[in-house]
């Protein structure tokens, strides 16, 4: 990286940041089990104002972490939503105090299968209790209270992050002003569960699996890489893959595939293994599959609790979370007279569109947050 590139990539950046961990004495899950202690990894950008009413909680997707914006010391690539978080960006750190936390059940610093079980002194691994999207949100609520924030200015997220945002709006209706749900759903369809099931079965069939009680030097890496390859196919679109790879041969020395798209997926799978834990993959995908606010009338009843404004964004090319699922949420909100804006963006990048730079997405996020008037709906 030459100096001019460095300047360019730091433009509108929150700069160098670090992940912090806050520890709470204990935390009871929806299933009744208690985690002792509860650890939550988080990052913040911008400044919390005196009234503590400018905080936005950013929720991450399946493989994300608390590092949403800026750079960790020595890193060349910024956090996963750096396009949208920073001074002057849609989530403007000059105006808002942005909080991004790692979900519990994950493996990026918050309590999860890699945490140490106080009773045994060893990592929980697959003995960690089942974690739901509701649990993830309840843990985030503890973090928010830790900052002394009663009401969040907004909760925003895409994919699994969108489910968390949605859960916030019904679990803590009076604790948020705005809810932004992108490329998400009120519950997984059979097809979405099917994709996750194949990923989990790939891990379970790895010779190193050992019922989840694997050692760190003998992990089910092949299975986890396959799960990620499978997932990655669903994150892109036909158009994107055609454009990016076509039927081109692989680069480099990969012997096991004849095509560029194959080597790309192998690379994605292998690099995922370095930064994710197989048990966490199972916990988090199960949390996704079990999340259900229902559809139709059932969803309408659940969403009758909502007391915040909504922005729902879907993407035409997203075949993993197709736009009809977003529209289902919107319709149920509308029946409850909740002020909601819904847009289906025609971005060709598939499910991952919400992570990628887009002028339309930028302006709609920015303007929705700026225009906080609820139009007299509540």
């Amino acid at each position: 990286m030459n100096p001019s590139e460095t300047n360019e990539s730091f433009h509108g950046s929150v700069g160098v940041v670090q992940t912090n961990v806050v520890t709470f004495e204990s935390f009871t899950l929806e299933g009744g089990e208690t985690i002792t202690p509860l650890e939550i990894a988080y990052e913040t950008y911008g400044t919390l104002n005196e009234k503590k009413d400018n905080a936005i909680l950013i929720c991450h997707a399946l493989s994300g972490d608390a590092h949403a914006a800026g750079f960790h010391e020595g890193d060349k690539r910024p956090g996963w939503w750096d396009y949208y978080i920073g001074p002057g960006k849609a989530f403007d750190t000059n105006r808002y105090f942005i909080i991004s936390s790692n979900v519990i059940g994950g493996c990026k610093g918050s309590s999860g299968p890699l945490s140490t079980n106080g009773k045994t002194g060893k990592p929980f691994q697959s003995t960690f209790p089942f974690v739901s999207i509701g649990d993830m949100v309840n843990a985030q609520e503890k973090l928010i209270r830790h900052f002394g924030i009663h009401k969040l200015f907004a909760v925003a997220g895409g994919s699994m992050g969108g489910m968390q945002a949605l859960q916030w709006s019904v679990a803590y209706p009076d604790r948020l002003k705005n809810c932004i749900v992108m490329a998400s759903s009120s519950e997984h369809s059979a097809q979405q569960i099917a994709f996750n099931e194949v990923g989990r079965q790939a891990i379970l069939s790895d010779p190193n699996w050992n019922q989840g009680l694997y050692t760190q030097d003998k992990r089910p890496s092949k299975g986890l890489a396959l799960a990620r390859m499978m997932g990655h196919i669903t994150y892109l679109s036909d158009e994107m893959m055609r454009e990016k790879f076509g039927r081109k041969p692989p680069k480099g020395n990969i012997q096991s595939t004849d095509f560029a798209v194959g080597s790309y997926l192998i690379y994605q799978g292998e690099s995922f293994v370095d930064r994710f834990d197989a048990n966490s993959y199972i916990y988090v995908t199960k949390a996704l599959d079990h999340f259900s606010l229902g559809t139709g009338k059932e969803l309408t009843k659940v969403l009758s609790k909502v007391r915040c404004r909504f922005l729902v964004i879907a993407y035409t090319s997203d075949w993993l979370y197709p736009p009809y699922q977003s529209e289902e949420i919107v319709k149920s909100l509308e029946v409850n007279a909740v002020p909601v804006s819904f847009i289906e963006l025609n971005n060709p990048a598939g499910h991952d569109s919400f992570l990628l730079p887009s002028e339309e997405q930028d302006s709609i996020l920015r303007d929705f947050l700026s225009a906080t008037d609820d139009g007299g709906f509540f």
Partner: protein, 205 residues
Amino acid sequence: MNIHTNEAFGLDLKNRPDISYIANLVKPGERVLDLGCGYGELMLILKNKGVRVQGIEKDDKCIIQCVKKSLYVHHGDIDDGLKHHLDHSFDFVILNQTIQQTLNPGEIIKECLRIGKQVIIVFPNFSHWQIRTSILLSGKTPVTDLMPFHWYDTPNLHYLSGKDFEDFCDFERIKILHRAFFNRTRQIKLFPNLFATLALFVIRA
């Protein structure tokens, strides 16, 4: 293509007599659904009056502009986007120069009457004298200020006059509560079917 743009009219919308007429019909606190809300000019006027207004629009550029105005819009097609709304859940459903662009106007009007206590419907009056003479003299599909499109690029799928609409309401036993006719700058009371460019009806089931 959307005919709600200022460009299409070359008018300041706030001075439009039809818009003021609608704004006077709706009271603060009432709930309004604006079908084909375009860039949200009418919704903004109603919202500023304290009306709880939401819209449906199929053009994504329009939606981005509506969000800028702090308006709530559903990106979708009226032809299949109304079923979820409950009976009489809105005080008014507004079809402001939308109905002539829908695929099945008769069905949409009935659906609007189901979800709205009253329906305000505004459309370009196809029996305006300029249109009549244009067809008579040129023998061609008319291109006017109000319908500035050619046969090959128009979003308008249906052409109707005030009288056509009254016939429809009569046949369907729809009750007409108010009727008003306008040109660019004022309300037209004398021979409106000849002199009005816009026809407005307030109906209920």
